[in-house]
């Protein structure tokens, strides 16, 4: 039952979750003395 | 060409009418932002009132060739002698 399509779906979902977690929960750690403009300042 | 007849009451930028010019006199240095001075608002320079917003505030001026706007409260602090 573990077809290629299933594997792709789980990969996509895992990547999406990882991205969102990184974006919204791990952000404060990396934000130190950085000037805004070098990164996206968390816009969006 | 400096008008001495009305110099009994000290005039400020605020007493200018649109189109009128004056020569900047004294002002309290610590009350006038440095930026304004850097734009040419210094004793001896010429100031012209270009346009007034409603309630005479802010004032659109030409000082020493620069176009800028300041508020009435600031304009009141800068003494001038009108040029006719």
């Amino acid at each position: 039952m573990w077809s290629l399509q299933h594997i792709l779906v789980y990969l996509a979902v895992a990547a999406a979750v990882a991205y969102l977690v990184k974006k919204y929960f791990l952000k404060p750690k990396s934000k130190k003395e950085r000037t805004c403009g070098m990164d996206d300042c968390g816009c969006h | 060409m400096i008008d001495l007849t009305i110099s009994t009451i000290q005039e400020t930028i605020n007493s200018l009418r649109p189109g009128e010019k004056g020569i900047i006199g004294n002002f309290a240095v610590e009350k006038i932002p440095l930026k304004l001075q850097e734009m040419g608002c210094l004793p001896g320079n010429e100031v012209q009132l270009i346009q007034l917003a409603p309630f005479r505030d802010p004032l659109f001026l030409n000082i020493n060739g620069n176009n800028l706007a300041i508020r009435r409260e600031t304009a009141d602090l800068i003494e001038i002698t009108k040029v006719l």
Binding site: A15, V17, Y19, H44 | L52, A69
Partner: protein
């Protein structure tokens, strides 16, 4: 080749610094990812005639090295920090030929820092029209530098500048002015306290209104040398300014002449009209009206096209790829998700087009002038208008644009109320709901949908002003500062600058917002196509077994099964859990899910609904059509009817649903207190208003 030559572009605002930057770097530039106006760091590379490359940094515009705002402070700090990576090898000071005298103040300050500097005199093409004659050789001799006459508009002088940049090592670094002459005893004392340091660098640290932070460590202690803002320092600063003007006048009277009779002044005529006490406001209002009508009307054609194309694409994917969960993910999750972003590109591009036209033409300063008195009644400043207008793009750059408001209280209030302004992220939500509930008819010549949109913008602005009025009564002022705004000469906006702004901002919207929306739509699709209960897995049997469904056609049966399955998926379960809270506002569980995901970014609302409405359906139908035919199970009426639509519009108008805004407000106000208050008050208010509206309308 070794390391790249580092060049900083420095200059007064409105001297065409950004045009020069665009000309030097072309598309080899990176700007911070936020949409909005030049606030922060812009970098790029420029190829030099000799084959080398220069790294160009575009610093924010400043009138002098005496910072009165956070933006200007950044410039001063970058020049007092030899240890940092972007300390320039060479400063290119951009001046405007019409205001040369004032521009030279900044130039002499840079020279006094002993940084090699080239003077670029921009807008040289205007010289003849304005009756200006200039003796470049004399200027070069007196200022002890190289002068490049150029026109960023006509693209002249750029090769000459590149050549000069290449030869920067031949530039003399002698200072123009010696500050110790201003007051021998004061500066002797200062030098004695820090014998190692350069006197002018010391004086810059001591005389700033604020303590500098990101500067060389050896200078940091000079920060505490004396109290700030003392009358003594103010007097010395005035003396310095006068001395600089005297220095400049000594040669400029010979080198620079203006024949006023030659100057044809259509610009002062324009100002008499555009800043008129009655006419000026009428024109301003008209321009705004036009802008929003245009955003709405002009973009409807490309938007419909994009909507259709994505519907076709989804259908094609479903029909031509092998059947399986990944194909469904593509057709029902990813494609509608991306489509939900791409569809707003036309509008966002138009919005940034107008904002950048207002900025470039010089009209924005006139708006500041016209609105100052009015805004002050509400505790704001005329300068708050710029953040409030940029807020129509995105609250983040808008909050950052408040940095040039000198008054702390006015700045704080502006930051707090800016999120009420309708940002481009709200636009997608408004557009889809307006399209669903407001009839497409004209009313006294104006499109009703366009008017509704305009009304929402006015509502956001009104709310911002109203809350500013309340805040004005609550917040106490810290320091007294004054208001000075330059009224730059009107210019025909340069196509290249406008184009770059529009491209850059649109690209960053698509990329940054797009990634999040894509990720969320994948997760949503997964949650919507999976469940744990028997209700989910045996949906087909259960629905077929229900007696009331026996009469359904095969097609209707499919739809019934899909909707039953969706209701019992993970997302359905979460949605139903939220439903009691939002039911009084006229929303069902689907809208509830969209509301929750909106907190990542508002525009996700549309993507979320697009995904939810796509799961399980294979027919080619646009999302709008699906949404409009959806029926609220409880009331039996259309889900997106007039009361629900209005309630949703109001909720989105007032609620603070943007984590990024909260983050930037925290950063700019330096406390969690303000963003927290903002979140609770705005969202609470939004709930109550939406509740009130729905209950009254039904």
């Amino acid at each position: 080749m070794g390391k790249q030559l580092k060049v900083s572009l420095i200059g007064n605002p409105n001297t065409g610094k950004t045009s020069l930057f665009n000309l030097l770097t072309g598309l080899n530039q990176q700007v911070g990812n936020y949409p909005g106006i030049t606030v922060e760091k812009k970098e790029g590379t420029c190829r030099l005639p000799g084959g080398g490359k220069a790294h160009i940094l575009d610093l924010p515009g400043t009138y002098s090295l005496n910072a009165s705002s956070a933006d200007e402070q950044l410039v001063v700090e970058s020049l007092l920090r030899k240890e940092q990576p972007d300390f320039p090898d060479l400063a290119v000071v951009v001046a405007d030929v019409e205001n040369l005298k004032r521009n030279l103040i900044l130039f002499t300050q840079i020279k006094d820092l002993k940084i090699p500097a080239i003077l670029v005199i921009n807008m040289a093409d205007q010289m003849e029209r304005r009756g200006i004659s200039l003796d470049v050789e004399l200027l070069e001799k007196k200022l002890n530098t190289r002068v490049v006459l150029m026109s960023a508009r006509k693209k002249t002088g750029i090769d000459e500048l590149k050549k000069q940049i290449e030869d920067y090592q031949q530039l003399p670094v002698s200072p123009c002015l010696s500050v110790s002459e201003l007051d021998a005893t004061y500066f002797e004392r200062l030098q004695k306290a820090f014998p190692e340091e350069d006197l002018y660098r010391l004086w810059l640290c001591v005389s700033q209104d604020v303590a500098l932070k990101k500067i060389d460590e050896s200078l940091l202690k000079a920060n505490e040398y004396s109290e700030r803002n003392t009358p003594e320092i103010k007097r010395l600063q005035q003396k310095e300014t006068i001395a600089r003007y005297l220095y400049i006048n000594r040669f400029l009277n010979n080198a620079y002449q203006v024949d006023r009779t030659k100057a044809t002044d259509w610009r002062s005529v324009l100002d008499r009209i555009l800043t008129h006490r009655i006419g000026g406001y009428a024109i301003f209002f008209l321009i705004m009206l036009l802008m929003f009508q245009a955003i709405y009307n002009w973009s409807s054609i490309p938007m419909d096209f994009i909507d259709q194309s994505f519907a076709h694409l989804s259908e094609w994917t479903n029909n031509h790829l092998p059947e399986g969960p990944f194909t469904s993910l593509l057709a029902e999750g990813i494609l509608p998700g991306i489509g939900g972003v791409v569809i707003f590109v036309p509008q966002i591009a138009f919005l940034f087009l107008f904002i950048s036209l207002l900025e470039e033409s010089g009209y924005m300063s006139r708006i500041v002038f016209l609105m100052d008195r009015l805004m002050r009644r509400f505790g704001l400043s005329g300068k708050s208008v710029v953040p409030l207008i940029s807020g129509t793009a995105c609250a983040i750059p808008a909050v950052m644009a408040t940095r040039n408001i000198e008054n702390w209280k006015e700045r704080m209030i502006t930051i707090l109320v800016t999120p009420f302004i309708t940002c481009s992220a709200r636009l997608p939500v408004y557009l889809i709901i307006i399209a669903l509930v407001i009839p497409d008819q004209t009313f006294v010549g104006f499109n009703l949908q366009g008017l509704t949109l305009m009304g929402l913008y006015v509502l956001g602005f009104g709310m911002a002003v109203l809350s500013a009025f309340v805040l004005d009564k609550i917040i106490k002022n810290k320091a007294h500062t004054t208001f000075v705004v330059e009224m730059p000469a009107y210019k025909v906006p340069m196509a290249k600058n406008v184009l770059y702004t529009v491209l850059e901002k649109t690209k960053s919207f698509v990329l940054v917002a797009g990634k999040i929306i894509l990720a969320i739509s994948i997760v949503l699709w997964f949650l919507a196509s999976n469940g744990y209960s028997d209700d989910f897995y045996q949906a087909e049997e259960i629905v077929r077994a229900q007696p009331e469904n026996t009469m359904l056609s095969e097609q209707e049966m499919q739809t019934a099964v899909a909707s039953y399955q969706l209701q019992h998926s993970y997302i359905g379960i979460i949605g139903h859990a939220i439903e009691p809270v939002i039911r009084p506002l006229g929303y069902d569980w689907k809208i509830g899910i969209a509301l929750v995901t909106s907190f990542a970014a508002r525009e996700v609302f549309v993507g979320t609904l697009a995904t939810i409405y796509s799961v399980g359906s294979e027919e080619e139908e646009t999302i709008k059509e699906r949404m409009s035919s959806d029926v609220n199970i409880r009331t039996g009426k259309k889900l997106f009817d007039f009361p629900t639509g209005i309630s949703l519009l109001l909720f989105y108008a007032f609620a603070l649903q943007c984590m990024s805004t909260l983050a930037i407000v925290k950063k700019e106000t330096n406390s969690w207190k303000w963003p927290f208050i903002q979140l609770v008050l705005m969202s609470g208010f939004a709930y109550l208003v939406a509740l009130g509206a729905y209950q009254v309308l039904t």
